[in-house]
C-alpha cells in the first residue's frame, strides 16, 4: 500500500499535532465541530501548540479544551470563573495565545459577572461560547440563553426571556464580537482565525446544538432551526499578511478590516449592507434580527484599535515568569530608606 502523504504546515507539524484526547461528548454534539475548527485554524495559522494556553469553566462546553491541542497547557477551572483564571494566567507570559471555551450556563448564568469584566478589560483572548440553551451535564435544564416558551422534557416551558450573549458582550465593550453556528464550519473557522489574531478580547458566540437535550426542530439552538434561519451578514475571510497584497476584491462590495499585526479580515457583503464598527448600530441590527426571527451570523462588532489589557501595564519584554530573581527583589540598600519612611 502506498504511503499516505501527510499534510504538514509551515512548522512541519501535522494536524494530528493539534489534536487532543478523543472527544467524550455526544455523537453529533455541536461542540465537536468547534473543537474541529479550533484544530484546523491553529494548524493552518501555523501556531506552535506550545504557544497556546487553553482554559475553560465547567460544563459540556468546558470539556472541549481536552479534545484539542494536547501539546498546549490547559486548565479546566471553576464554573463561571474561566475569565478570571485566564486573566491571571495571561500575565505569566504575554506572548502566549489564550483560548477559552465556555458555555451558555458558564458564561450567561454563573459567569455573567466575570464575562462582563473580561470584556471590559479587553484581555487579548479568544473567548468561545458553545451556546446550546441547555444544561447538558446535569441533564436538561434551561440555561439563561434558552428562548422563552422553549419546552424541555423534564422542565416544561421556559418562563423567562433569554440573555443574548452577543448583546452582553457589545454592552460590555468587548472589542471583537461574533456569532456563528456549529453547522457553518467555514464561517466558524474564519472567525476563530480572526479572533486568534485580534489583540483584545474576541468573543464568539457559537450556536452549538445539544443533540441529546435541545435539538427539536423549532428550538432556537437546533440544527434544523439554525440551517433554515441563518442569515450570514457577510462572507468572511481571514487573510495572513503575505497574502493580503494578493487579495483583490471588488470595491464597494467588500470591507477590509486590518488587524494590529498586519493580518486582515475581509468581509464580503451578502444580503445585508452592514459595517461592524459601530456599537449602537450593532445593537440595533441584533434587535431587528430578533424581530425578524433570523439567526444573524458573522462579525457583529470589531474595534481593532481599542487598547488591550496588556497595553495598560508597562511590562518588560522578558515574560514576567522568566524574570530572574534579582529583578524581583528590591536592593538591600532600599530597605533602610523604607524603614525611614515608617514612624
Amino acid at each position: 500500500m502506498a504511503e499516505k502523504k501527510v499534510k504538514l504546515n509551515e512548522l512541519g507539524l501535522t494536524k494530528e499535532d493539534y489534536k487532543g484526547q478523543k472527544s467524550t461528548l455526544c455523537l453529533g454534539c455541536g461542540h465537536n465541530a468547534i473543537v474541529g475548527q479550533v484544530i484546523s485554524a491553529c494548524f493552518e495559522l501555523n501556531i506552535p501548540p506550545e504557544k497556546v494556553f487553553k482554559v475553560s469553566g465547567i460544563g459540556c462546553s468546558s470539556k472541549a479544551p481536552t479534545y484539542f491541542m494536547k501539546r498546549s497547557f490547559g486548565f479546566n477551572g471553576l464554573h463561571g470563573r474561566m475569565p478570571s483564571l485566564a486573566t491571571g494566567a495571561a500575565f505569566g507570559d504575554t506572548s502566549m495565545i489564550g483560548i477559552g471555551v465556555s458555555g451558555d450556563g458558564d458564561t450567561a448564568s454563573i459567569g455573567m459577572g466575570q464575562f462582563k469584566h473580561i470584556t471590559r478589560r479587553n484581555l487579548p483572548f479568544l473567548y468561545i461560547v458553545a451556546n446550546n440553551g441547555v444544561y447538558g451535564l446535569t441533564k436538561g435544564q434551561f440555561s439563561a440563553t434558552a428562548e422563552k416558551g422553549l419546552a424541555l422534557k423534564k422542565q416544561g416551558q421556559n418562563r423567562y426571556v433569554p440573555v443574548d450573549i452577543v448583546w452582553e458582550a457589545i454592552a460590555g465593550r468587548a472589542s471583537f464580537v461574533a456569532r456563528t453556528f456549529s453547522g457553518d464550519p467555514q464561517q466558524l473557522k474564519a472567525l476563530i482565525m480572526a479572533g486568534l489574531h485580534h489583540r483584545g478580547i474576541a468573543v464568539i458566540d457559537v450556536i452549538s446544538p445539544c443533540v441529546t437535550f435541545n435539538n427539536q426542530d423549532d428550538s432556537f439552538h437546533s440544527y434544523a432551526w439554525g440551517k433554515s434561519h441563518e442569515v450570514a451578514l457577510h462572507k468572511l475571510s481571514f487573510v495572513p499578511p503575505v497574502e493580503a497584497i494578493k487579495v483583490e476584491y471588488e470595491k464597494g462590495e467588500s470591507l477590509d478590516v486590518p488587524l494590529f499585526d498586519g493580518t486582515h479580515i475581509i468581509l464580503k457583503k451578502l444580503a445585508h449592507d452592514y459595517e461592524p464598527t459601530d456599537r449602537a448600530r450593532a445593537l440595533q441590527m441584533l434587535e431587528d434580527a430578533n424581530r425578524q426571527n433570523e439567526l444573524i451570523t458573522g462579525l457583529i462588532y470589531i474595534n481593532p484599535k481599542q487598547k488591550s489589557l496588556f497595553d495598560l501595564y508597562d511590562l518588560p519584554d522578558t515574560p514576567l515568569n522568566r524574570l530572574p530573581d534579582e529583578k524581583l527583589r528590591p536592593s538591600p540598600e532600599s530597605i533602610e530608606e523604607i524603614n525611614q519612611l515608617m514612624l
Binding site: E50, G88, G92, H117, P316, R329
Partner: protein, 605 residues
C-alpha cells in the same frame, strides 16, 4: 473660669497611662492623633495607638486610644486615665469611663452635665482658639482637633519642638501645613499655660526605649514584605480591614519594583470585580509561574473557598492574607477578631488543610510577607497569612524591617533545558524526590514535553483525568503528607519561660502583646506561666512537646468558640482535657486584665 475640683489628689504617674480621644468620624482627627503619638514616640517612650472606629465614613463616633507605657505594654487596656471629649454624643460615656482622679478634657461648647466629682476637669475653648486661627471654613473641624493636641501637650509636658518635628514628618516638608497646625497647637498650649488651674498627675518624661525602632501598621509591613518577596501579581477586592494592604503595595511598588535597566514594571496589580475573580486571577497567575498574592477578610475569604480548594488540589502556589474582622456575616466590619482560624485552616470542600502563617507583630508581617511567597512555591500550595484588624490597621512600635536573609525560593519549576535532560515521560504529579512535592512546568515553556492539563477533577500522576479509586486516594494522601511535612519548615513557635512554671499558656497573632503583659501580672499574683506563641499551622512538634510538658495549658484567643483550642485538641487528643480554652470576643482587642482574670479564675479551680 474652668470648673475644677482641687481637692482631688492623684499621685504623679510618669509614662504609664492611657488617653482616650473621642471625636466624630470624618472630622480629620487622624493628623492630631498621629502628631501626639509620634511626639511621644520621639521622646523615647513606648506608645501604641488604636483606632476604634465605626463602619461609617462621616458622622458616627470614633475613638483613638493612646497607651503610653514605660514597661512597653502596647496592648489595649481597660483603664483610661485621660479622656478628650470632642463629641457631644459620647460625652457622658467618655466621662464615665475615666478612673477616679482621671483628667477630663472637653470642648467647652458641649453643654452636657458633668455628674462626677472625682475628676480633674479641663474645658477647652475650642471655638475661640479656632476662630483666632481663622482657617478656611472646610478646615475648621480639622483644626479644632489641634486644640486638644496643644492642651494635652501642656498637661503632659510634651515640648512644642517635638510636636513640630512630628508635624514635619506628617506633612513631608509641606511647610505651610506644618506652620498652620503648629500655630493652633501653640495657641492652645499658651491658653492652657495661662488659664488652667489643674495640674495633670499624668506626665511624660523622655526615655530611650524607642531607639532604633519605628512606628508602623501590620498591613503596611505585609505589603512591603510582599514586595521584597518578589510578588509578580496582585489581584484584590476592597474589604475592611484588608484594603490598606493592597493599597500599600499600590503605593510602594512603583518605586521599589521598577526594573532599573528597562524602567519597566516587574509586577501587575488588578483590582478585581469581586473576591471570586480576585482568587481566580491569582490561581491563573500562580499556575503560570507568577508569585501571586491577595489580601481579604472573612467575607471575602468565604467567597474564595472554591478556588482555594482547587489550588490546594491542583497544587498551585498562591498567597492569601486574611486580615480578620468580627463575623459571622457582615459582623462588625471595623472591629478586630481571631474568628477565622477554622475557616482559613480548612477552607474548601472535601479534605483540605492549609498552610497558615500567623504573624504576631508588625515586623513579622513584613517577614511573613516574603516567606509566604517562598513557601507557596516551595510547597506548591496556597499559603494563608492570618492577621487581624488590630495588628493590620493600628500603629505599633517595631524594630526595623530586615532584608530577607534567604534568596527567593521558586520551588521545583522545570524550564526547557531541564526537560531536555529528562529521558522518560515527565509527570506533573510524579513524586520523583520522595518528598511529596512534584515538579511543575509553567505556560510559556516551549518544550514539546512541557504542557500538561490542570484540572480540579481526579487525575493521575501524569495529570490525566482519572476516576480510579487508587489514583484518587494516593494523590490526596500525598498532598496531605506534603502539607504535613511543612510542619518542619514553617516558622517555629516562640517560647518564653519563667523558672518554676507548672502551667503553660498558648496564644497567637495580635493577642501576643496582651498575653505577655498578663503573664507579668500573673507572676506578681504568684502564677507563673511559660508562654508559647504559635506562628504557623499545621503546628510543629515543638508545640506538641510544649503542651506535654505542663499540667495544664491555657489557650487564649479572640473568638467565641476557642477555634485554635480545638485544633490543638485534635493534634493531641490524649491531652485535650488539659488544654483550657480561654476565648473572648466583643469587637475589641483582648486586654491583659481580662486574660489575667480568666487565668486566675481557672487557677482557683
Amino acid at each position: 473660669m474652668a470648673k475644677t475640683t482641687p481637692e482631688i489628689k492623684t499621685q504623679k504617674v510618669v509614662n504609664e497611662f492611657s488617653v482616650n480621644i473621642a471625636t466624630v468620624n470624618g472630622s480629620g482627627s487622624q493628623t492630631a492623633n498621629m502628631t501626639l503619638i509620634r511626639s511621644i514616640f520621639k521622646m523615647g517612650i513606648p506608645v501604641s495607638g488604636k483606632n476604634i472606629f465605626p463602619s461609617n465614613i462621616q458622622g458616627l463616633p470614633t475613638w483613638y486610644k493612646i497607651r503610653v507605657s514605660k514597661y512597653g505594654y502596647l496592648a489595649r487596656t481597660q483603664k483610661t486615665e485621660i479622656a478628650v471629649a470632642m463629641n457631644p454624643k459620647t460625652f457622658t460615656d467618655d466621662l464615665n469611663e475615666l478612673i477616679p482622679g482621671g483628667v477630663f478634657l472637653y470642648a467647652d461648647h458641649i453643654k452636657e452635665p458633668i455628674l462626677r466629682e472625682d475628676l480633674l476637669l479641663c474645658p477647652m475653648p475650642v471655638k475661640t482658639i479656632v476662630k483666632q486661627a481663622n482657617p478656611p471654613r472646610k478646615l475648621r473641624d480639622y483644626v479644632a482637633n489641634m486644640v486638644y493636641v496643644g492642651v494635652l501637650a501642656y498637661l503632659l509636658d510634651i515640648q512644642l519642638d517635638t510636636l513640630k518635628s512630628a508635624l514635619e514628618f506628617h506633612f513631608k516638608g509641606k511647610q505651610s501645613a506644618v506652620d498652620f497646625n503648629l500655630s493652633v497647637i501653640r495657641d492652645a498650649f499658651q491658653w492652657a499655660e495661662n488659664n488652667l488651674e489643674i495640674v495633670s498627675p499624668f506626665k511624660v518624661q523622655p526615655l530611650n526605649l524607642t531607639d532604633g525602632c519605628h512606628l508602623a501598621k501590620g498591613n503596611t509591613a505585609g505589603a512591603l514584605g510582599t514586595i521584597y518577596g518578589g510578588m509578580h501579581f496582585l489581584s484584590w477586592y476592597p474589604i475592611t480591614p484588608a484594603t490598606s494592604l493592597p493599597e500599600a503595595i499600590h503605593a510602594y511598588a512603583p518605586d521599589l519594583r521598577k526594573d532599573p535597566e528597562t524602567g519597566k514594571n516587574t509586577y501587575v496589580i488588578i483590582q478585581a470585580e469581586d473576591e471570586l475573580a480576585a482568587i481566580g486571577m491569582l490561581v491563573g497567575a500562580g499556575w503560570a509561574g507568577l508569585r501571586a498574592m491577595t489580601a481579604t477578610s472573612g467575607p471575602g475569604l468565604s467567597l474564595m473557598g472554591e478556588y482555594a480548594s482547587l489550588a490546594y488540589f491542583a497544587e498551585i502556589p498562591i498567597v492569601v492574607w486574611n486580615v480578620q474582622r468580627v463575623g459571622p456575616s457582615t459582623g462588625l466590619p471595623t472591629r478586630t477578631a481571631q474568628g477565622d482560624v477554622n475557616l482559613t485552616y480548612y477552607l474548601g470542600q472535601g479534605d483540605t488543610e492549609h498552610v497558615v502563617l500567623i504573624p504576631g507583630s508588625v515586623k513579622e508581617c513584613f517577614e511573613f510577607g516574603w516567606k509566604a511567597l517562598d513557601l507557596a512555591e516551595l510547597l506548591q500550595t496556597p499559603v494563608f497569612v492570618l492577621s487581624d484588624l488590630d495588628l493590620g490597621q493600628n500603629q505599633w512600635i517595631t524594630p526595623p524591617f530586615e532584608y530577607p536573609d534567604t534568596p527567593i525560593e521558586r520551588g521545583k519549576i522545570l524550564w526547557e533545558e531541564d526537560l531536555e535532560k529528562i529521558k522518560d515521560d515527565w509527570g506533573r504529579y510524579l513524586d520523583l524526590d520522595g518528598d511529596n512535592i512534584p515538579y511543575r512546568t509553567v505556560p510559556g515553556n516551549q518544550h514539546p514535553k512541557s504542557a500538561y492539563f490542570t484540572r480540579g477533577t481526579g487525575h493521575d500522576d501524569y495529570a490525566k483525568y482519572s476516576e480510579k479509586p487508587e489514583d484518587w486516594e494516593e494523590n490526596l494522601d500525598r498532598i496531605k503528607r506534603k502539607v504535613d511535612s511543612s510542619r518542619n519548615i514553617l516558622p517555629e513557635p516562640e517560647i518564653t519561660t519563667r523558672s518554676g512554671s507548672k502551667n503553660g499558656i498558648i496564644a497567637f497573632g495580635s493577642t501576643d502583646f496582651a498575653v505577655r503583659e498578663a503573664c507579668d501580672y500573673l507572676e506578681a499574683e504568684g502564677v507563673k506561666l511559660d508562654y508559647l506563641r504559635l506562628r504557623a499551622l499545621p503546628v510543629s512538634s515543638k508545640v506538641l512537646e510544649f503542651i506535654r510538658k505542663y499540667e495544664r495549658v491555657y489557650v487564649i484567643e479572640n473568638n467565641r468558640d476557642g477555634q485554635m483550642h480545638s485544633i490543638l485538641s485534635l493534634e493531641l487528643p490524649d491531652r485535650a482535657s488539659d488544654l483550657v480554652s480561654l476565648s473572648h470576643i466583643d469587637g475589641l482587642p483582648l486586654c491583659a486584665e481580662w486574660i489575667k482574670d480568666a487565668v486566675l479564675e481557672e487557677e482557683k479551680s
